[in-house]
Subunit: 552 residues, 2 copies
């Protein structure tokens, strides 16, 4: 390592969306910004989540001073259980962010062994040679910060995820002044969110969805199902306000939605009047026009409450003809098939479905800065060097071009996961690579079941093996045409266990509706979960389970 | 069957996009409109194409009078080889449509045994009790028709795919007058394309992309790679015109693009001046600013010319820093990952990439009618009954609502594949179901290799079995971490063949670049093809081959 160089080393999120993680190093001191996860591509069968490969941090264990979180989204905090189990260092985050982290660590029974330190916007703190100031930014989630990090060679600013919302529903304003002051004093490098670099203009405020949602509430005659990302606290707040205004009680359905709304209430981000909430079991006791069901599952996640309700397989959330379902969210690329399958199922139930089809009005806004906000930040901070973060390679490239074109940046540099960028007061250049990559985790947890943490990556394959259940489904009839096959490899299983495994699969199939069997995402996930439980109970192994469907 | 009822029986394309196929029956006479295919979802490993289940037609073999094609897109003609091999009936289509069909049947060595009958817009022909008039419509492809079918209970009109292009580049206008005349005389039922029911307004003309493309040609300093759907004859025509105007020679790369442009030239839809075309091998002989490469692969298809060029694995189409790649096409839902992977690879080659990112201007237009055109057709034809075709369930529902709201339709009915709709002069209602569904085909043909037709669906599984090569790839290094595993089931293979199969997979991996190995779509397809060749050569079987990637 060079003697007088600061190193910036992205370990995740540069060249991909998700699992954001970035190390900043000065000599023998390393700080880590964010510890996210991503959800696997469809090619990665049998995997629950993907986290960054932190070999570099493990090799430098004694130098890592802490992990600083910018906000509480999964792509920024979701990798913590895995990372902390390898590297138990203090975790810094704002009050709301840490509340999410606590839930997550509690779930994995790791909370007692973790050191969580609350940070407050505007309050500087020191970590080794670094002095760090969290600066309040706005985003789709509450209590988000950017980080201004004073280093021996100058200040670097990491925006985290942000947009410049000039009227955030909680009144906690984007701190334009603080960024302006840093810009005036001089910023060595700006690391900025690239997500929306394709969008011209300015992202609308979180408030801006309210008028259109108000109209939808007005014209809905029966039950109203409202779905949004469970972390969209502003959206939940707006939906609850509208429910109250329109005389509807609110039932919260789906684990993530329940947890998230409870955290938001505890911390004062949701002000729920007494009597507004009802238990999901009480939905049937109220007239349809007096109920709003706040339900999780906007992305068509196979085991989510909304997916199950859509195939009439949820105990409390029953969707009947004439009910309205509002998906106040976007279609995340890669999720189209799952989402549209759920929407088609909802239409088959004769529900009205309002989703982001280009003609439904402003029912969702992005949480990320568009081009003009990106330019505004660059103008405020006037950084010498600009490094785009969070995005596929093409987003990073476009963002670097945008920054360069603003005219105040000396040099915009595109780096990717594993690149080592070295900076001093005058120069910035790539200097080698460290190990980086993705680790696939089969976490063992599923749907509403909380299991203990099982960190298992694909490297353990040779230990526990693979199980491939092969199903032959007749698409039209929804019938299973042959007895399910179960292949194994590297997994010590006697004929008896295999035969029982077959019966488990057959039983899961028997217990599923034709609609579920026609929805491969759902049926594969059901089989994976049931078979996993069975095998773990009846052998000491935890093989990877990857259902394969043959359609005839 | 009721005595005096006309039956409309969709066998594909209603409740899904692709594999359009619809039967119309009067007593013992059946005609079939279109015979399309669809490309498989990612869940269907090891499958090349999907075609409709035509059990109903096979059971009624002696009653089927012919298949009438509306136009030459794969989702309307792609299923012909399979369907004709089960049901050898005459095929009716326009000149250009039949040219595509001839190529397809020739490839499968079926041309000599097929009866192809050319139809001409405006020229009625009889088939059993039906009198059919093809009516010229406009679309992204040339020589497309709607069908007006006189039946004993009234006229039904099937639009095929259409938009109302008031200035088509070939001057062959949408026949508004003919539709108006049918409307005046009375139409019993209209079956109309639902694809763009989500889009308000009016779809722009095929011409409308020219100004923006002209700008792109003007500012491009090095080689220009132009990619569009190979059947987009208008687009190819515009690109060639611009190439000539800007002093560029044209090299056509990719099998489908070569075939399609040759057909278009033969039939006078492309007027190519002598000396404009060069052989791909001559690209390197010309200055970069004097070359346009017309290349296939807008959807990121793993073995397409553009995908291979993007990872620097195409002999002639070499993309160098400063070259421009224009994707004059849309991102078809489901293909995002493949397309964006290709775009990221292109950026890594330091190419300029112009694609449909919302900020590139009008570089592509849809071929399908938007809401105002759909309303216009309904107004022109004033049908008693309206039946939406071509779309997922939600599209059909929305289209039915749109039609009903126009105010001239008595009844809009949503039917799906397999439903039997019965009509007489006064009534229309669902009356039972026939077998319908999807058949998966492993066609044996790949990339530039033309093999003979192998119709094999999943039902033959028990005969030829499955081979699952399992690869363990280190995402970061691109290295294969373990010897490939090869599982088999229902496939009689000795240890020696399995061992050789392993070596085939290992060899394919050795011969692939790190970039290719990081692109699962590409590497899986390469392994599937190589292994398929090897196994077919060394055994009499044709097992399904489904590569599975484990990422570590």
């Amino acid at each position: 390592m060079a003697d007088s160089k600061l190193q910036i080393i992205p370990l995740g999120g540069l060249g991909e969306f998700g699992m954001n993680c970035l190390a900043v190093r000065w000599h023998d001191d390393i700080i880590v910004i964010d510890a996210g996860l991503m959800f696997p591509e469809s090619e990665l069968l049998g995997v629950d989540v993907v986290v960054p490969d932190i070999s570099y941090l493990i090799e430098n264990k004694e130098h890592v001073r802490g992990i600083i979180l910018t906000h509480g989204h999964e792509d920024h905090i979701g990798g913590l259980p895995w990372i902390l189990s390898e590297l138990n260092v203090p975790v810094y985050g704002t009050e709301f962010t840490l509340a999410y982290v606590e839930n997550k660590l509690e779930e994995h029974k790791m909370l007692d062994d973790s050191e969580l330190i609350e940070i407050v916007p505007g309050a500087k703190f020191g970590l080794g040679p670094f002095t760090i100031e969290p600066i309040r930014v706005t985003h789709s989630l509450v209590d988000c910060v950017a980080l201004a990090i004073e280093t021996p060679v100058g200040v670097i600013v990491h925006t985290g995820d942000f947009k410049i919302d000039l009227s955030p529903p909680d009144g906690k304003a984007f701190d334009l002044h603080r960024f302006a002051e840093y810009g005036k004093r001089g910023v060595l490098a700006l690391l900025q969110d690239s997500t929306n670099v394709d969008r011209p203009g300015y992202t609308p405020s979180e408030w801006s969805v309210k008028p259109r949602l108000d109209e939808l509430f007005s014209r809905t005659k029966k039950k109203l199902f409202f779905s949004c990302f469970s972390s969209s606290i502003y959206r939940i707040r707006i939906a609850m306000d509208l429910a109250r205004a329109h005389g509807r009680k609110v039932a919260v359905v789906g684990r993530s939605m329940v947890e998230s709304s409870e955290v938001a209430q505890d911390l004062g981000y949701l002000d729920v009047p007494p009597g507004l909430l009802i238990h999901p079991g009480q939905i049937a006791d109220h007239a349809p026009e007096q109920v709003m069901v706040l339900i999780s599952g906007t992305q068509g996640e196979p085991m989510s409450a909304l997916s199950r309700a859509a195939v009439d397989n949820h105990k409390h959330a029953r969707i009947l003809p004439g009910d309205t379902v509002v998906l106040s969210s976007r279609v995340i690329p890669g999720n189209e098939k799952s989402i549209y399958r759920v929407i088609d199922h909802l239409y088959r139930r004769d529900a009205q479905v309002i989703y982001d089809d280009g003609a439904s009005g402003l029912i969702h806004v992005s949480g990320h800065a568009s081009q003009e906000e990106q330019r505004l930040m660059i103008n405020l901070l006037k950084p010498k060097f600009f490094i785009p973060v969070h995005g596929d390679y093409r987003h990073l490239r476009k963002h670097a071009e945008l920054a360069q074109s603003v005219g105040v940046v000396d040099l915009a540099l595109v780096i990717e996961n594993g690149d080592v960028l070295e900076l001093d007061r005058a120069n910035a250049s790539k200097a080698g690579k460290v190990t980086a990559g993705r680790v696939c985790i089969d976490s063992g947890s599923a749907a509403d079941v909380v299991e203990d943490l099982v960190i298992r990556d694909r490297r353990h394959l040779s230990e526990d093996g693979i199980v491939l259940p092969i199903l032959t489904i007749n698409k039209q009839t929804g019938k299973v045409e042959r007895q399910p096959d179960v292949f194994t490899r590297g997994f010590v299983a006697d004929e008896e266990l295999i035969e029982s495994a077959r019966q488990v699969v057959a039983k899961t199939l028997d217990g599923s509706s034709a609609e579920e069997k026609a929805d491969y995402g759902v049926i594969k996930e059901k089989i994976r979960i049931d078979l996993k439980r069975y095998i773990q109970k009846n052998s000491s192994r935890r093989p990877l389970i990857m259902p394969v469907i043959l359609e005839i």
